[in-house]
């Protein structure tokens, strides 16, 4: 029977800290009123519009006053609104130009630069200087958080921003790895710079940051206490008790999950998650983008480990969540990113269901059929379906990276090589189970069937069919998550159609779903009640 072990503690949309729940217009009117008096007598070389200048002053004041609530609005609305208005395709004012406005406050400038470079990455093409400078800024930021004092910093930032810091840090690392492997398009100056600075976006340094944040926040110890009980304050320590450290530590676990996947190390990816309980509502659910990322990479790692059943559960769970909370995302500045990931996950889901047919949630199944119905059919057709698998894999997989710099003397562009490598191995695996769906469709028609007869249907030698039946059993038997950490799981059959052999006679049994009417009734009762209550309201 299809069960949903992740779903027990389902996250309700209203408990999630969804991005952008603030009314933006309110803010736009307000912003004109930001203290215009008392401006420092400062003549910037670059023309900074009045609105932007006031915004930065307001922003700075709230950072200094540790006013998280207002920072939320600044981060999610103010910044994006002003970006649309003044900087849709150009960079925000140079950090040096605003330094005077904020009394050269180093922490504020680091935070400003984080946003400044992130904006360049998203709206323009970063130059190599931008890439290096952004990397240095992240070093400054993490050094400030981790190494500037024996006391924890009292800085507080919105959860969403903390997630975006980790997310962006990894994105820029990934982007840099792709960039440097395109040797053919590089100028000599660029190559010189790349050779001079092997430390920039070095894989060890990136991992170091994530491991250090995990370590400093004692997040693993905290997760263990929350799982097994114990003294949380003691487990967390001075640093880990503060939200800044706890969340950065937690998001770094998800960050490592992602980095390990990008490097093709799926075991280590899931091992990083060993203290995170996916079936409980964890911190990951506080920020939707983090929630989606977590399930995407967990599901992807399962798929690559040939645990299709677990992958299906992970994808179905998060896709159901996203579809239920859609009305919130549409207002979010991350709407596009979440929709893109969802599209990819429907594709991955279609692949996994083709490889390991099983029942999934009705709503998710319907959407999957709408989006990838045709592809799903093709993937069941043996050899013919291979190009479809390939196409969907390329569309839905993360952009894999090589952790080491290329040979800069050889002018080739190898940025797609890591992805091709993963795809090739995955496809070889798919190829070994090509006949499984075909055999399944024949077995479905019988309760007993001789191997010879099946061989005649398939137009294959009898010996080959015996082998294919073994393949069917071997491939439909997968490790499945029962309890414990995400990496654990026991072998068991995953198919609703099972068989056994006595010599050359196949005995077949199919598990069937009883009629499901409950969900249908629940849905329609709810709809009816909604209509009635709407009518009553109107009546009043």
């Amino acid at each position: 029977m299809y069960q949903e072990p992740y779903d027990e503690d389902e996250v309700r949309a209203d408990e999630v800290e969804l991005p952008t729940v603030y009314a933006g217009d309110e803010y736009a009117e307000e912003e004109i009123d930001y203290q215009t008096e008392g401006l420092p007598a400062f003549a910037p070389e670059i023309q900074i519009p009045e609105l932007v200048r006031n915004f930065i002053l307001h922003f700075h004041r709230n950072v200094t006053e540790r006013n998280v609530w207002d920072l939320h609005a600044i981060y999610e609305n103010g910044w994006n609104k002003l970006t649309e208005k003044f900087y849709p395709k150009t960079a925000w004012p140079d950090p040096e130009a605003i330094a005077g406005l904020v009394n050269d406050d180093p922490v504020f400038l680091i935070l400003y630069k984080e946003l400044y470079y992130r904006h360049i990455y998203s709206k323009m093409t970063p130059t190599i200087e931008d890439r290096i400078a952004s990397y240095s800024n992240y070093c400054d930021l993490f050094n400030y958080i981790l190494n500037s004092s024996t006391e924890p910093s009292d800085l507080e930032l919105p959860n969403q921003w903390l997630w975006d810091i980790i997310d962006e840090f990894i994105y820029q690392f990934q982007s840099f790895c792709m960039y440097r492997s395109k040797v053919k398009n590089k100028s000599e100056i660029e190559i010189e710079l790349l050779k001079e600075r092997p430390d920039v976006w070095n894989v060890h340094n990136v991992l170091n940051v994530l491991y250090s944040l995990i370590q400093k926040s004692r997040i693993n110890e905290q997760l263990l206490v929350s799982k097994n009980g114990g003294d949380m304050l003691e487990a967390a320590g001075d640093f880990g008790s503060r939200p800044l450290y706890r969340l950065l530590g937690y998001f770094s676990i998800i960050g490592l999950l992602r980095v390990h996947c990008l490097l093709g190390d799926y075991v280590l990816a899931l091992k990083t998650m060993e203290n995170v309980e996916l079936n409980k509502k964890g911190l990951f659910a506080r920020v939707t983008a983090c929630h989606v990322t977590t399930y995407y990479y967990v599901g992807f790692a399962y798929m690559m480990m040939r645990r299709y059943s677990d992958a299906i559960k992970a994808f179905a769970h998060i896709l159901l969540f996203v579809s239920r909370t859609k009305q919130y995302h549409t207002r979010s500045y991350q709407f596009e990113a979440i929709s893109k990931k969802s599209e990819q996950m429907y594709a991955l889901l279609a692949m996994c269901v083709a490889l390991s047919p099983q029942r999934i949630d009705e709503n998710v199944h319907t959407t999957m059929r709408e989006k990838y119905g045709e592809q799903s059919m093709k993937m069941q057709r043996g050899e013919e379906g291979l190009p479809t698998f390939e196409e969907l894999f390329n569309f839905a997989c993360p952009k894999f990276i090589s952790p080491v710099p290329p040979d800069y003397e050889v002018a080739v562009n190898a940025s797609h090589e890591p992805t091709r490598h993963q795809q090739r191995i995955f496809m070889a695996e798919v190829r070994t189970q090509l006949l499984v769906p075909t055999i399944r469709s024949f077995l479905k028609l019988y309760t007993t069937l001789g191997v010879e007869k099946l061989a005649a249907f398939l137009d294959l030698p009898v010996d080959e069919v015996r082998t294919q039946l073994l393949v069917f059993k071997h491939k439909t038997r997968q490790r499945r998550y029962e309890s414990g950490s995400v990496l654990e799981g026991d072998f068991g059959p995953t198919t609703d159609l099972d068989f056994y052999l006595k010599q050359d006679l196949i005995y077949i049994a199919e598990s069937k779903q009883g009629r499901r009417v409950g969900e249908w009734f629940i849905r329609h009762i709810n709809k009816f009640e909604d209509i009635v209550s709407n009518m009553e309201k109107r009546h009043e």
Partner: protein, 251 residues
């Protein structure tokens, strides 16, 4: 203020100044794993290239003593991935040999995912990939033929003393989940065993041979029977909360 990159670049292996050298309490040491290996594999010490020799000789030890430690093997491949100059093709083939022995777990592919593309075209690695391909497709007769007749194939796993035994275990599991009864001769072909050796294997497994000794009966398990099950829907209480809520409102 020291920057992260400077600190790190000088000592790439142990990047965290205040140490992360104790394995997480949630990472229990698998049986047979030496403590020093455990400390490397479960901490950031796994990124320190200085640990390559220790981990490499642990791979040999695994082959000799017939213990398999997936995470320690993958840790070696990770070090090669980050430090390609240390790449040792012999160790890679040893690890791939161990991963073949771990079937039906997909560890062989998990290793390939982490290898550099060039290594895949190495002649020895290509042979192992072919062997893996045959095993994944349950082509046991072809597998044994290739292993024993192709030049150099046998040598690749020569150090892994229990290799044949591991593969026979895998074949036995695969046959065991599919068959309730199988011709002894065919079973012998799958296992590459005959005569006394085959009888001994069957006896060790506790399988039952028919009187005329032509048919082997495999023990009935959950996986080699097929019973039709009808799955009934179950409605959870939580699904009804909204409806119950409406009931309360109308009172």
């Amino acid at each position: 203020m020291p920057s992260v990159e400077e600190e790190q670049y000088e000592a790439p292996g142990s990047p965290v100044p205040n140490g992360f050298g104790i394995p997480s309490p949630a990472a229990p040491c698998p049986p047979n794993r030496p403590e020093d290996i455990h400390r490397i594999v479960e901490t950031v010490d796994r990124y320190n290239p200085q640990n390559i020799p220790v981990l490499e000789s642990y791979v040999e030890e695994q082959m000799e003593r017939d213990v398999y430690d997936r995470d320690a093997c993958l840790a070696v491949l990770k070090l090669y991935q980050f430090n390609p100059t240390f790449n040792n093709i012999e160790v890679v083939t040893n690890i791939l040999g161990l991963a073949l022995g771990a079937l039906p777990d997909p560890d062989f592919n998990l290793c390939l995912y982490m290898l550099n593309e060039d290594i895949l075209t190495d002649n020895s690695v290509e042979k192992l990939i072919h062997l893996h391909h045959l095993l994944e497709q349950a082509k046991f007769q072809e597998f044994w033929a290739y292993l024993n007749t192709t030049e150099g194939a046998r040598d690749l796993v020569a150090k892994y003393l229990h290799f044949d035994r591991r593969i026979r275990e895998y074949a036995s599991v695969t046959v065991g989940i599919a068959y309730q009864a199988i011709e002894k001769e065919r079973l012998g072909e799958y296992l590459a065993l005959e005569g006394v050796d085959l009888d001994q294997w069957i006896a060790e497994k506790g399988w039952n041979v028919d009187k005329d000794s032509k048919l082997v009966n495999l023990p009935i398990s959950k996986e080699n029977q097929a019973r039709p099950v009808i799955v009934q829907e179950s409605i959870k209480f939580e699904q009804l909360t909204k409806i119950i809520g409406y009931g309360r409102l109308t009172q």
